[in-house]
Structures are given as structure tokens and as C-alpha cells.
């Protein structure tokens, strides 16, 4: 008969009512009403022990295919162990000694059967909803899914059994690359936790470091096609036998490795490591004979220093508190260390960039990006992108970290005084550990744009402006050599966020999207409070320069999350974009306003470029049309920027109530006009103001100036001159507009 595991402490009995534990009783009842399970024997734990109870059952799993690759049978015999402690999981042991070693089994030492790893969740989650009938189904589920090769947890190496080990080893993300350099040294950082479990973090060391030996011994086995699941060895002798099956002479390699560590002048005793970690690298090939396409790693810990092992192996000796090569020693048997215990370690890997992206379901593109401004918002978004592996980043900022910045910047106290670029690069590397690099330029981005020193950002696919200035997006709009630009900011009261994105071909520039943004703010209900809290200086709320500004970090992060995500999405589209998110500070509800940017027109008037877009034209034609057969008109709102010699028209206001319209004339009234203009200015943080007048001409009339129009223009010029500004008059006809722009010249 085939060998089966027995449990010497448990005497099989056939009176099932002998079991006392509540879960045992529930299991017996569940087995009675389940046609696939049969109970054959039970056992109470040994008297006066803290052991639980045992049930012997057979289970039939109809969905287990007869020819499954593991050799799981339709009918399996199992032992079910019910611990005394209700908080401990019930264990299920396959009784056949020939039961296959598959993924998702727990190993309990070489001399014991493995148990099925039935749950992915922690014990407390399982026990919350545990019932005996569901537990029986779970056993069948395990057998069936394993037989079908459908039982996969994320990143479970195919070679490994689960082994409850207190130690984990974290390898660098590029461990396989680093190991190619034979002169690589590693250090091990060690963190022990309250429950005596510990993590060893392996890092590459400086080549010239004279630090204590890290006690790492790397071994590579011959390549395999599929990992074979084997039980873990528990002693050095067992480890050697395990490796010998994989074609590795463990003792021979260890001896020569240890010998090489000791120069002729010897090594002081206290330079030896406290323990040795043996890392086994198993190359995995897709097919026999092909180059390995990946490695699996196993690690074992020996509680003896590397050089001490050398002494045990008789290749080293100790003399006057130093290790020396032992040229004289007979290479005798070293059986005494066969029995030294080795402990399995869980091997984990620092994230490489693919892992970062996989865990975050990062969008498929990975563009080269430049971030202008790494203040509160910029640093928060960069932090998010460092964690999802999106974008190859360069950052520009001229500021440095001041103490007050810490309340809403990702920087830590240690960064005070550092440039913001250095601070965020340090934090970025703390996350990626070199799996992705970042470049920084500590400079004034506006000066770079003005002097057209664009080399640093020249190879970027997208530039994100988070400078919280007006200069950079407007100046950048002028420069043809730049790639596509996005601009984002948070409003001063912290309740709204704005994203403006140029299209791929840059047919829609930030400067016109900015004007269209103001138009929406002026015309929308939500625009009333959108920019409130500004102190007459635009969107400085998100800028940390203003020491008096108040903006909770929570607000920064709410919007940083939205914007970091939306920037990714916008980068996947070729189109321009204008989106405004308004948040209700009381409930946290966020609403979005998505506006399709309109095409821009430019008229050059002397030194000045006048911009207006299709939206303004449409508005003017529409106002004229609804007033017909009478003429109509009103004022034009917009703003000047002499840094870029531009006048940007934002919108027209309709005729005030007290205006007088006839089919051949229009006298613009004043009722409510001042309030309307002031409101537009208030809503836009004083950016938008009065820039001129518009009126319509009757059907089939030209848009040339009439005598009255010329008189109006002279009047406008005179008055605008008091502010040192030129005058603007727009005449709207059937299908065309005329722009008359100029300064009053007293000499004429």
C-alpha cells in the first residue's frame, strides 16, 4: 500500500461524537450532508496537551481532470487538524506521501506532511466568515484549481512552498545586473520588529568600503526549464544535498569563496559577519537549451559568519585574533557543520519600473516630461508619479525649501535650505532606488524661456507648467521650438483646480486657453467664488512664496491627485483641453467643467498682437443677430500683457438696459455696466478689464467706420490714454468683424 503520513500523537477512533471542539462538531455535521466527503476516523488530542482534534476524511473532486499535470487524484485522503485556539486556522494535510508538491502548500519541516494553503487572506479575515460547509468547498476548490493550474497569487515564485519564516531578504531591483560585476560589494541593513521578525535590505556598497563583511554568498545553479517544487532543506548538510541535485558543489564553492576573502595579512576576527546568507540563483529558461530569460532566487540563513564557516571547513584558521588562510590544514571531513541549522528566508525584490507600473495600472505611455515648478502642487504630483512609474522626469525650479514650506510640500525638515529641485530629486530616488532616474535644473524657468535657453527641456514630449505664474505659460506660448505644454494650478481658496493642455500640434496655445478660461469664469455661476481669496495677485495660493497664504495640505493633495491623474489621461489624447474641478469644501463633492478650446485668431497692429478666438466671434455675431433689425453693442473685456506685447480679448458684454438702438444707430447706455465690468475683474483676480467698445452695423452694410464711429474712436483714444493704453473698437457686420486699434495722437 502506498505510504501515508501518520500522526503518532493521535489515536484514531471511530466514535465521532468523541470530538468536543465546536469547529470539529460543525465539520462533522457538514461532512454528513456533503456527498463528496466521507469521514473515516477522528482523534482527540493527547490528554493534558494543548493540541487540537483531528479528522480523517476522503474527498472526491469531480472537476479535477484525470490527467492533470500535478497528479492530484479524484479521491484524496486528508487529515483535518482543528486547533484548540479558535483564532488559529484549521489545517488540511494530504495523507499520501506521494501527494505532489505544488504551489500553495505550507511546509512544516522535512519530516512532516505539507498542508494546503487554502486562503490568501489573513487568519482574522478568514475566521470572520468561516463556516464548515464553506470550508469543505474551499478544500475542493483548492484541489481543483491546483489541478487546473489556476491557483495563482501575484508574484508567487513557481518554485516555492510557503514556509513560515521570520526573515525576509529584499534584493535590489537590478540585482541580476549588479551581480554581473564580480567586484560588486553589498551591504545589508537589518530591521527587527516587535515580533522578532526581521528584514534584511541588501544594497550595493561603495567598492572601496571597508565596512564589515555583509556575509552574502551567491550561488548560481544550472538552468532549469520549469522550477521544480522541493521541500526546503533545514541543515547545511541538507542545503548541500539540495544544491548537489542542481549540479552545484556547495562545499567546494564556499571554500574557495571564503579563501579569496582573506588576504595574506589576515582579517581581524570582528570583521567577520554575524551570519551568512546563501543566495541561490536559479536561471529559468522557456525551453531546453535556450538562454535563461529570468532568475528565481532562494535564500537561506546560517547563524555563523562567512569566515567562521571557512574555519569550520578547514580553509581558514584563527591566529592572534585574525583569520588567515590555513595552508597547512588537512582538508579533512567537515561533518560537524552538516547539522548546522539553516533558515529559509522570504526573498522579495525592490520594485523595478515595470513593477511600479504594474501595481498602479499605470497608463501605457511613458513620455519624457519636464516639470516647471516643484512647489506644493508640483512636488505632490511628482511624488505620485514616482510611485506609479509614469514619465521620465526633468524638473526646474529656482526656489529653495524654507521652514514654512513643510506645511504643504513633500520636503522633510532635513531638506530645509536645499533647492526644491534637490529636495524632490532626493525624495524621488528614495522611492525608486534608482529604478528610474530624474534630472534637475535649479534655475529660473522664465529666464530660460526669455533667453531661449531651451536645451534642458528640448527633448521633452510635454512640459508641465506648475509655476503658478502668468509669465511662463504666456511666454512659452510664443516659443515655436517648445513641445506641447500643459499648465495646472490650484485656486487661492483651495477649492478648485485647473488644467489647460495644448494639443499635440500646438494649434491651441496656452495663452488662448487662458483667455477662454476667464470667459467661463465670468459667465458661469460657479465663477462667482472660483478665484476668491486672491489678494489681488493671481493664483498665488498654491505658491509657497507667500508666507501669509493659508492652504491646507489636504486641499493640495485632493487636487494634486485629480491633476496627476488627468495629466496622464490628457497625455494620451492629441487634443487640447480645458478642465476646471470645483470642490464643495463642506461635503468634498467635486464637479468638473470640461470646455473644448476654440480656435484662436491673431491680428498684428503695429507692435501689438491682438488675439481673439472663435468663441468671441460667435458671441458678437449672436448678440448682433438677436438685436436685428436694430443695431446693438457694448463693451469688450480683455487684458494687456506688455511682456509679450499682446492684447487678448476675452469676451464682449451685451448692451446695457438703457442703451438706445435704432436700425441705423446705437447709443450705449451705462446701466449696470460698471458693476458688470468690476464683477468680471473681481472674478478674474483683476486680470480682465475694459479694453474697448463694440457695436453692430445693419444688414448688408460694411464694417467700415461711419462718421459716428470715428468720433467714438477719438473719444475712446482720449480716455484710454489717461491710463496709457490704446483704444479698441470692434464693428460687427453680417459675416465679418473690423478691429480698429490705436493710440490717440494729439499731434493729428
Amino acid at each position: 500500500m502506498e505510504g501515508v503520513w501518520d500522526f503518532p500523537l493521535y489515536q484514531q477512533e471511530f466514535d465521532f461524537s468523541r470530538l468536543q471542539l465546536p469547529r470539529s462538531k460543525q465539520l462533522i455535521a457538514a461532512i454528513e450532508s456533503n456527498r463528496d466527503f466521507k469521514l473515516s476516523a477522528v482523534a482527540c488530542g493527547p490528554v493534558e496537551s494543548n493540541c487540537g482534534e483531528m479528522l480523517w476524511v476522503s474527498v472526491e473532486s469531480d472537476e479535477v481532470p484525470p490527467n492533470n499535470r500535478w497528479g492530484i487524484l479524484y479521491r484524496e485522503q486528508l487529515a483535518i487538524y482543528v486547533p484548540l485556539d479558535q483564532n488559529k486556522l484549521i489545517e488540511v494535510y494530504p495523507l499520501r506521501k506521494s501527494f505532489p508538491l505544488t504551489p500553495h502548500q505550507n511546509q512544516h519541516g522535512e519530516a512532516h506532511p505539507t498542508s494546503l494553503c487554502l486562503y490568501f487572506e489573513p487568519t482574522s479575515s478568514v475566521s470572520r466568515t468561516w463556516t464548515a460547509p464553506k470550508f469543505l468547498h474551499r478544500i475542493q476548490w483548492w484541489l481543483t484549481k491546483t489541478a487546473l493550474d489556476q491557483l495563482h497569487a501575484a508574484d508567487q515564485p513557481v518554485e516555492q512552498l510557503f514556509y513560515i519564516t521570520p526573515y525576509e531578504l529584499v534584493l535590489p531591483w537590478d540585482y541580476e545586473e549588479q551581480i554581473k560585476d564580480k567586484s560588486s560589494n553589498f551591504t545589508l541593513a537589518y530591521s527587527e520588529r516587535f515580533d522578532k521578525k526581521a528584514t534584511f535590505l541588501m544594497e550595493r556598497a561603495d567598492k572601496n568600503s571597508s565596512a564589515k563583511l555583509a556575509g552574502i554568498f551567491n550561488i548560481e545553479t544550472s538552468p532549469v526549464v520549469h522550477g521544480i517544487i522541493e521541500k526546503n532543506p533545514e541543515t547545511l548538510g541538507g542545503l548541500s544535498a539540495y544544491l548537489s541535485r542542481k549540479g552545484v558543489d556547495f562545499w567546494g564553492l564556499l571554500k574557495s569563496y571564503v579563501e579569496d576573502l582573506v588576504p595574506s595579512r589576515g582579517v581581524p576576527l570582528d570583521h567577520d559577519s554575524d551570519y551568512t546568507i546563501v543566495i541561490i540563483r536559479i536561471p529559468i529558461c522557456r525551453e531546453e537549451g535556450l538562454t535563461p530569460d529570468r532568475f528565481e532566487h532562494k535564500a537561506f540563513m546560517v547563524l555563523k559568519g562567512l569566515l567562521q564557516l571557512g574555519v569550520s571547513l578547514s580553509v581558514l584558521c584563527v591566529h592572534e585574533k585574525k583569520f588567515y588562510k590555513d595552508g597547512m590544514a588537512a582538508k579533512n571531513d567537515h561533518a560537524e557543520i552538516y547539522a548546522d541549522q539553516v533558515g529559509v528566508m522570504d526573498v522579495l525584490y525592490n520594485n523595478n519600473i515595470q513593477a511600479f507600473r504594474k501595481y498602479s495600472n499605470t497608463p501605457p505611455n511613458d513620455p519624457k516630461m519636464t516639470l516647471i515648478g516643484v512647489g506644493a502642487l508640483g512636488s505632490a504630483m511628482l511624488n505620485m508619479w514616482s510611485r506609479n512609474g509614469w514619465g521620465k522626469w526633468k524638473v526646474i525650479d529656482k526656489d529653495h525649501i524654507k521652514p514654512h514650506n513643510l506645511s504643504r510640500h513633500t520636503a522633510h525638515a532635513m531638506h530645509v535650505g536645499m533647492s526644491k529641485t534637490d529636495a524632490v530629486c532626493h525624495l524621488y530616488r528614495c522611492v525608486t532606488a534608482g529604478a528610474r532616474e530624474i534630472e534637475a535644473l535649479n534655475a529660473d524657468a522664465n529666464e530660460l524661456l526669455c533667453s531661449t535657453s531651451l536645451e534642458f527641456m528640448a527633448d521633452s514630449e510635454i512640459i508641465i507648467d506648475v509655476s503658478t505664474t502668468l509669465e511662463i505659460p504666456r511666454k512659452a506660448s510664443e516659443l515655436e521650438k517648445l513641445p506641447r505644454l500643459f499648465s495646472v494650478f490650484i485656486t487661492p481658496n483651495g477649492n478648485s483646480a485647473v488644467l489647460m493642455a495644448e494639443d499635440d500640434a500646438r494649434a491651441f496655445r496656452l495663452r488662448t486657453i487662458e483667455a477662454q478660461y476667464y470667459r467661463v469664469v465670468i459667465n458661469s455661476e460657479w465663477g462667482e467664488k472660483h478665484l476668491e481669496g486672491n489678494h489681488g495677485s493671481f493664483w498665488s495660493g498654491a505658491s509657497c512664496r507667500d508666507i501669509s497664504s493659508v492652504l491646507p495640505y489636504t486641499d493640495v493633495l485632493v487636487h494634486a491627485s485629480t491633476l496627476a491623474d488627468q495629466i496622464q489621461q490628457a497625455s494620451l489624447s492629441h487634443d487640447s483641453l480645458l478642465r476646471i474641478w470645483n470642490r464643495d469644501p463642506l461635503t468634498g463633492a467635486i464637479s468638473v467643467n470640461s470646455i473644448a478650446p476654440q480656435k484662436e485668431f491673431m491680428v498684428i497692429a503695429g507692435d501689438t498682437k491682438i488675439y481673439l478666438d472663435d468663441g468671441v466671434r460667435e458671441q458678437l455675431f449672436s448678440l448682433r443677430h438677436s438685436a436685428l433689425p436694430n443695431e446693438t453693442g457694448g463693451v469688450i473685456l480683455g487684458y494687456y500683457d506688455f511682456n509679450i506685447n499682446s492684447l487678448v480679448i476675452v469676451c464682449a458684454l451685451p448692451a446695457p438696459e438703457d442703451s438706445v438702438s435704432t436700425p441705423t444707430s446705437f447709443d450705449r447706455g451705462v446701466e449696470g455696466l460698471l458693476e458688470a465690468v468690476n464683477e468680471a475683474s473681481r472674478r478674474t483676480a483683476s486680470i480682465v478689464g475694459y479694453v474697448g467698445e463694440w457695436h453692430s452695423h445693419p444688414p448688408e452694410h460694411s464694417t467700415n467706420q461711419s462718421k459716428h464711429d470715428i468720433e467714438q474712436m477719438i473719444y475712446l483714444c482720449r480716455n484710454m490714454a489717461d491710463e496709457g493704453l490704446p483704444a479698441l473698437q470692434i464693428i460687427v457686420g453680417d459675416n465679418e468683424l473690423s478691429l480698429i486699434y490705436g493710440a490717440f495722437n494729439y499731434q493729428i
Binding site: D62, E63, P65, P66
Partner: protein, 384 residues
């Protein structure tokens, strides 16, 4: 791509209905037994018409590729003439009837006779349909070619001005493969074990003896699996089949991974003595039972089989003595389970038994919801 065939057994009381869905999507239905009153929710039998109709709708089809009637007993044809579209008369057409691309019938079915007052019985309607299709020369296979059928057919062919051999290709003899399916393209072949001509030679043809018996061989990614599909054959017919098959060196056609046992687990398919606790199988029947492969399943298309005193004295099948014998032999060959259509997953609410055949073997799919999902997916008993 992994080949996946399905064989489905429907809970239709002591009656037969099974469906094969091939990996390529073609569907073959064996027999049709819609139990009277099965539309009512509290009946354990499946509402076969509604079930098959919904099943076809899901597959976006209004036809079966093949419908095979193993013989014309009521428990194999009941309700079929209301469900299927019949080509021989307009009154059996349209209004959502399901089409039969190819009809498979034993020759005996074309030779059925009935008194004048029985002319509207379903077996006569199906006889008319089979005769119509045979004369038209389309959409039919007739298994075996007895002289009586030849005598009926030849004058009619002459009347139509056709050669007397014009329908030869529509007949299939025992011991041959059914044309139209092959292992390379369809991943299946049907080897016809029965009926033999001699079954149809007597004046009074015994339907059960003349019923269809097939070895259905599935191929799934290079591996082969055998399904023994038997109509209501008696042990005598089965012994003849085993004997003939052995003599022709076709023993492999007797092996089975899945066995649809005859006649609702009647002892008469094993031997002539019911026995006290078990039915002693006749020698060649024993040979057949030992042809089961490891991990094989047996299915009895029948009412639940009890294991009490009354059950041992029951006259009508299913017979528990027969079941005991089948289970014994199933265990001997290392098989899995003996299943009863009206017992799975429970006698209160049986559901179709679905086998899935892949390269890795034949498995029983556990499709049935348990616990809360089961309650949600069915009508709850009325609350007062």
C-alpha cells in the same frame, strides 16, 4: 486552443435526453422527453422545451445539427412533435419551432404501424417525417436497411423517376462510422453498434432491440475519450453487440470514459435475473462493464434510486440491484461516480448533469449554485 466538448444529461424522469456540444459548436441531441407538467415550478423534472430553447437562444441558434431518436418509445420522443419543426406538413412549421438539420433514426422507426385511432400518436408523426425526409433525400440518416424498408422505398423512388439506389448514401450500417463527422475536423466520430438488420427482420419489430447504440469518440488536443450512448437495449442485444464487435476486432469501440446505461437502470440490460442485492451480469455484459477506463462515469437517466426494502421489490426500473452491480464494476475499473439524472445535485431540484471533455480527461462540472446564490437564482417557496 484547447478543445472542450460537453455532454449534457437532462433530468427528465424515467426518460432520455442528452446533448453533445462539440468543441466547434455543433450540437447533437439524443432523444427528447418533455415530462408532462414540467412547466410547473414545483415539479422536479426539467422544463425541457424552455431549457433547450433558452440554451439555443444563448448560442444564437434556432436548430440542432443532429437530432437522433434512438427508438420510438414515448419516453424518448415525448413532446418532440410540438417542439421541432417538421418538414412533412405545414402545421408543424414556424412559430418558433426548432429546426433539425439532420434527423437520425433507426430503420424500425420508418416501419412503425398503428391502428386508425392511433394515427395522431407522436411515433406516427415522426415516422411520417422520417419517410418524408428519406423520399426527399435530405436531412436524414437511417440506421440499418431491412428488406421491409427497401420494399417500401423502391416503388416510391420509381414513381419519382429515380434510381432505386438513389437513397443508398442515407443508410448507415452497424459496424461503420456515421458520415458527416470526423476526428480531424469535428474532433468526434460516431461508430454505430446497432441496430443490425436482423433486429428489423421480424414482422413485429421490438423497438428496444432495434434502437440506436453508438460509440462516440471525442478528440481533444490529440487525446481520445469514449462515450457509450445506448438506447433502451436489453442484455441480449448488448451481448450481440459485444460479440460482434469483438469478432470484428473493434474492442476499442467498447471501452468507455462515460456510459449512458440502458433503460433507466433496468436489470434487463445486465441479465435475466434481477437478483436479491445485485443483478448478476451476463458474461459479455461483464466484459463490457470491465471496458470502463479509470476515472470513468456512469449515468442512469432515471428517477432517483432508493436503497430501501421497497426499492428491492420494485418492478419498474430503476432497479437498485442493477445500480449495485454498475457501482461494483465502476469501482473495479477505478471509475469515479454513478450518477442518476433525477438525483443531481439533489432530488428536490435536479439540474442537468454536464460533463466537460478536454485533453486532461472527462470531468463533471459543478455548475449548480449553492447557499444564498441558489436561493437568489430560483423561485422561493410561497410564504404565507
Amino acid at each position: 486552443m484547447a478543445d472542450v466538448h460537453k455532454v449534457i444529461f437532462y433530468p427528465v424522469s424515467n426518460g432520455d435526453t442528452t446533448q453533445i456540444i462539440l468543441t466547434g459548436g455543433r450540437r447533437i441531441l439524443f432523444d427528447f422527453h418533455h415530462c408532462p407538467g414540467a412547466e410547473e415550478k414545483d415539479k422536479p423534472e426539467i422544463d425541457l422545451k424552455a431549457h433547450l430553447r433558452a440554451d439555443l437562444k444563448d448560442a444564437n441558434k434556432d436548430y440542432f445539427d443532429v437530432v437522433a431518436f434512438t427508438h420510438a418509445d414515448l419516453d424518448h420522443i415525448r413532446g418532440s412533435t410540438e417542439f421541432f419543426e417538421l418538414r412533412h406538413a405545414a402545421k408543424y412549421q414556424g412559430s418558433g419551432r426548432i429546426k433539425i438539420n439532420e434527423l437520425w433514426v433507426p430503420a424500425a422507426m420508418l416501419l412503425e404501424v398503428a391502428e386508425n385511432d392511433k394515427q395522431s400518436e407522436e411515433f406516427i408523426i415522426l415516422r411520417q417525417e422520417a419517410r418524408h425526409r428519406l423520399l426527399e433525400g435530405k436531412g436524414i440518416r437511417v440506421f440499418s436497411r431491412p428488406q421491409a424498408l427497401v420494399d417500401w422505398l423502391e416503388p416510391r423512388l420509381k414513381e419519382r423517376g429515380e434510381s432505386i439506389s438513389a437513397r443508398d448514401h442515407l443508410f448507415v450500417d452497424a459496424g461503420t462510422l456515421v458520415p458527416g463527422f470526423d476526428l480531424n475536423n469535428d474532433k468526434v466520430e460516431f461508430f454505430c453498434h446497432s441496430p443490425f438488420i436482423k433486429h428489423c427482420e421480424n414482422v413485429d419489430i421490438i423497438r428496444n432491440d432495434a434502437s440506436l447504440v453508438f460509440n462516440v469518440r471525442f478528440r481533444a488536443n490529440g487525446e481520445h475519450f469514449d462515450y457509450l450512448e445506448v438506447g433502451d437495449a436489453t442484455w441480449e442485444t448488448l451481448e450481440e453487440i459485444v460479440d460482434t464487435t469483438q469478432k470484428h476486432g473493434n474492442e476499442d469501440r467498447l471501452s468507455w470514459n462515460l456510459y449512458n446505461i440502458p433503460h433507466h437502470c433496468s436489470y434487463l440490460a445486465l441479465g435475466d435475473e434481477k437478483g436479491d442485492s445485485k443483478t448478476e451480469p451476463k458474461p459479455l455484459i461483464r466484459d463490457l462493464l470491465l471496458m470502463g477506463k479509470s476515472d470513468a462515469y456512469i449515468v442512469s437517466c432515471s428517477k432517483p434510486i432508493s436503497n430501501n426494502v421497497a426499492a428491492y421489490e420494485q418492478i419498474q426500473p430503476p432497479h437498485v440491484q442493477a445500480k449495485n452491480t454498475y457501482v461494483d464494476y465502476l469501482n473495479q475499473v477505478g471509475g469515479r461516480k454513478f450518477l442518476v439524472t433525477m438525483e443531481e445535485p439533489s432530488e428536490e431540484k435536479p439540474a442537468p448533469i454536464v460533463f466537460e471533455i478536454t485533453w486532461a480527461g472527462v470531468i463533471l462540472k459543478k455548475l449548480v449554485a449553492i447557499g444564498a446564490p441558489a436561493i437568489i437564482s430560483s423561485v422561493a417557496p410561497r410564504a404565507g
